[in-house]
């Protein structure tokens, strides 16, 4: 009988009142690559952090080679020869590659030169190309990742966990990485790779375990499955939600986006030639795997980020003129009289200030109105009371700091405020993430109301069922590319699922052309 390298039984972890993992089971054997598949927020990373000693599980047990173990710290994890390559690299920027690799080791002698030689040996063995004396801050993303992998290999890890390793890599780099991983598997290492890219799962792994919303869905053998059934496991069966959807009335173009390009700080192209039109009286859904550029797109429209190319035109309903928002700051947009509301993904870190009370949060975007030196708290106070009444916010009062409210109530406060600004364009990123059913419906209804008032609504969502029942049109983004814009009433779940991963293939083709 084959004893698994690592086995998880009934792992549960909660943060406050958020359940990140609920009763998760996993088995990985030596000489095997296991993919963990799931949408963002499905608890993949949290789960892996418990194996690598960053978090400590609330319940459940971890078995290594059939024996129950306790992993209290990353050091314990190393002792069990577990190595994790985090999505956000854990490297010291001012150190060289070699220094990062030997960091934290407890060998008796300390000899960087010898370590460098050994690192070189591993590089040769697996075909890595990296200069051990180069400083991390001078490195490209893929070089940094190579250092991370070298780090765990140098420590002799035989259980490797990679958290979304391809998110930052070019197709060629991804291929190289996969070749390395296959070589390691053949060496008898157990490898766990977290991903949400289906074709990677299919081309690389031996088994796939699927998580959805923190829950363990199941494990299948890769050879016996296909894209459709994996998509279904990941996103779930189509469920009827009975969200009302009216026909758009007197729809006109409101926001025209043309050829938007955006590179992030690391120089990675996040948005590639994005073009679409948001129309009044309509909900435009944006579907896509999290991190495909949705966040950046909305922040660019709101004026928080500057695009490197493309136009954003706003058609003013009062004058009928088109105005360019491309390089305007949020303040300038507001001063132009354009009422653009934005519910960002990070509610308490960006949309609201957690330590301020509801009233004070009401005036975040409007406090500077009026000439006086002093704040006007009367109107925000009234607004707070209205929102609490209308949206049934559960709170002891208007002077409660918003961080003390539950997730649903926080979101009602934020959405309520943004709606109260009487917007002509309303953007919301993942507005129902982490919310219970009732609160979610409140939000859907509010979006619908906005639509009926003639607002152009842009809704970034992750639940395909919701997108399909709420939106008039659905734009699918994959790896920063618009793969298609489909009719929300006719869209099929499988079709959306495939569109969501198509950008990678396009990118790959382009990559091949480059060669």
């Amino acid at each position: 009988m084959n004893v698994p390298a690592i086995e998880l039984k009934g792992i549960t972890k909660t943060f406050g009142n958020v359940v990140a993992n609920k009763n998760v089971n996993l088995v990985v054997n030596r000489g095997e690559i296991l993919s963990i598949l799931g949408e963002n927020g499905s608890g993949k990373t949290t789960l892996m952090n418990m194996i690598s000693g960053i978090y400590y599980p609330d319940a459940g047990s971890i078995l290594i080679d059939g024996e129950e173990v306790v992993i209290r710290s990353p050091k314990d994890a190393f002792d069990y020869k577990i190595g994790m390559i985090h999505q956000h690299f854990k490297l010291v920027n001012v150190f060289s590659a070699a220094e990062n690799i030997v960091l934290g080791l407890r060998e008796k002698s300390f000899n960087l030169k010898q370590a460098t030689r050994e690192v070189q040996k591993i590089c040769d063995q697996y075909g890595f190309d990296v200069d051990p004396s180069k400083k991390i801050y001078e490195m490209s993303v893929s070089e940094k990742q190579t250092v991370e992998i070298l780090k765990v290999l140098y420590r002799g890890a035989d259980i490797l966990i990679l958290d979304e390793p391809t998110a930052v890599l070019t197709p060629q780099e991804t291929e190289k990485l996969f070749a390395v991983l296959r070589r390691m598997r053949d060496d008898g290492k157990a490898i766990i790779i977290i991903t949400h890219k289906l074709h990677e799962v299919l081309s690389l792994s031996d088994k796939v375990s699927v998580l959805r919303k923190g829950e363990y869905i199941g494990t299948v053998v890769t050879a016996e499955t296909d894209e459709e059934s994996l998509t279904e496991m990941m996103v779930g069966k189509k469920i009827s939600l009975n969200i009302d959807r009216s026909e758009p009335q007197d729809s006109v173009d409101r926001l025209i986006v043309r050829g938007l390009d955006f590179y992030n700080e690391e120089g990675v192209k996040v948005l590639d030639d994005i073009s679409f039109t948001a129309r009044s009286g309509e909900i435009l859904g944006i579907a896509g795997i999290a991190g495909s550029g949705q966040k950046e797109l909305l922040e660019i429209i709101a004026g928080l980020l500057k695009p490197q190319g493309g136009d954003i035109l706003y058609e003013n309903p009062e004058t009928g003129e088109r105005e360019d928002l491309g390089s305007k700051t949020p303040l300038e947009i507001r001063n132009m009289g354009i009422r653009l509301s934005f519910v960002p993904e990070d509610r308490l870190g960006m949309g609201l200030v957690g330590n301020m009370d509801i009233t004070d949060n009401m005036m975040l975007r409007s406090y500077s109105k009026g000439k006086g030196f002093f704040l006007n708290r009367k109107d925000p106070q009234k607004l707070a009371e209205q929102i609490i009444d209308n949206l049934e916010v559960v709170t002891p009062g208007t002077s409660t700091p918003v961080r003390r409210l539950s997730g649903g109530n926080v979101q009602k406060v934020l959405v309520g405020r943004e709606i109260a600004a009487m917007p002509t364009v309303f953007m919301a990123a993942y507005p129902v993430r982490g919310l219970d059913i009732n609160s979610s419906y409140t939000i859907y209804n509010l979006l619908n109301q906005q639509k009926e008032h003639g607002v152009a609504v842009i809704f970034v969502g992750e639940d395909l069922d919701v997108l399909m029942e709420l939106c008039d049109r659905i734009m699918v983004i994959s790896s920063g590319i618009v793969t298609d814009i489909v009719d929300g009433r006719k869209a099929k779940k499988e079709e959306l699922g495939i569109l969501m991963t198509m950008g990678e293939d396009k990118e790959e083709e382009e990559g091949k052309e480059d060669k």
Partner: protein, 327 residues
């Protein structure tokens, strides 16, 4: 005369060197310990208490070399280690704000020094407001036997007491430790990115504790050197002055490198006494010259932040406390 100047500059610089080496070790662990001035006071007075009690118990004429050196040395180390322990317990274990804790520690430490200083002065029944430990100091101030015979060379390089050489050795060792050893590598990682260090299996809390306490002990020796050697065994309250803050300035000036700190301390020391060597200088101008170390420090700080050369920047997590499950 130049030899004499350098000699005095080094004497002035040694307390600063102890202080800044200690503070560099501490800051490399991510702890900005503004308690260093207080710790140096405690280091000084603890040594004074130890040697006072020893001199009183056997009589100043009968003291012997080894205990006369060891008793104050150990007292000083213990006193400043305890101060470092208070700082660590509050900022590392209880995650209190580092600036506030450090400043409170300085208030406490200076108060502690002056209180016991004042009490001892009273006990000794002196007419002048100071304690004189000449006998002990004479042991501390012993220089190399052939220092006086080698002219300017001896004056510049050999004419100091053992603590001065220890200061330089510690600075060089610290420099070597930070750059060339595993412990140094781990320590720098803790100060740069505790989350990375933690993920690499380094016990972040332990490193912060050890670095800060050892750093405090080194800084405390600066206080001891000042009383026993520089001030010839005479403790008077507040005489140590702002040297602790100057030591913190020196850390920035030396861009967090103890070896540069050796040169920096002599430079700062020189600026402190240069007025004695310029003819016809009036007292007011002396005060302006004493300002220069701080101005030079600010210029270094600004240039470093403008050039953004990563190696010269303060440790990235300086001043922040670390909590693993922060989300």
């Amino acid at each position: 005369m130049i030899a004499g100047f350098i000699h005095r500059a080094v004497m002035q610089g040694i307390p600063l060197l102890f202080g800044s080496t200690g503070e560099i070790l501490t800051e490399k662990s991510g702890n900005l310990n503004l308690g260093i001035p207080g710790i140096m006071y405690v280091g000084g007075i603890s040594g004074v208490i130890g040697s006072f009690l020893y001199e009183q118990s056997v009589g100043p004429a009968n003291i012997k070399y080894l205990p006369a050196i060891l008793i104050p040395l150990i007292c000083s180390l213990v006193g400043s280690a305890l101060m470092g322990l208070i700082y660590c317990f509050l900022t590392v274990t209880l995650r209190a704000n580092q600036n506030v804790t450090g400043l409170a520690l300085t208030t406490f430490g200076v108060g502690f020094g002056n209180f016991f200083g004042g009490s001892l002065i009273k006990l000794s029944g002196n007419d002048v407001p100071s304690i004189t430990l000449t006998a002990t100091s004479n042991f501390f101030r012993r220089t190399l036997p052939f220092a006086g015979k080698l002219g300017w060379f001896g004056k510049i390089f050999l004419s100091y007491s053992f603590l001065a050489y220890i200061a330089i050795v510690i600075a060089l060792l610290a420099s070597y430790m930070l750059r060339r050893t595993r412990v140094g590598l781990n320590l720098r990682a803790v100060g740069e990115s505790p989350a990375t260090a933690d993920a690499a299996g380094i016990n972040v809390g332990q490193y912060k504790y050890v670095a800060t306490i050892v750093g405090s002990m080194i800084a405390g020796l600066g206080g001891l050197y000042y009383v026993m050697d520089y001030a010839s065994g005479i403790w008077s309250n507040d005489a140590f002055g702002d040297r602790g803050w100057l030591a913190i300035a020196l850390v920035i000036f030396a861009v967090w490198r103890p070896d540069i700190s050796i040169i920096g301390s002599i430079l700062f020391g020189g600026l402190f006494i240069v007025h004695n060597y310029i003819p016809n200088i009036d007292v007011s101008t002396q005060e302006l010259i004493k300002m220069s170390p701080y101005i030079v420090t600010i210029i270094v700080l600004v240039i470093v932040s403008m050039r953004k050369r990563r190696e010269n920047m303060p440790p990235a997590s300086l001043g922040l406390s670390y909590f693993r499950e922060e989300r």
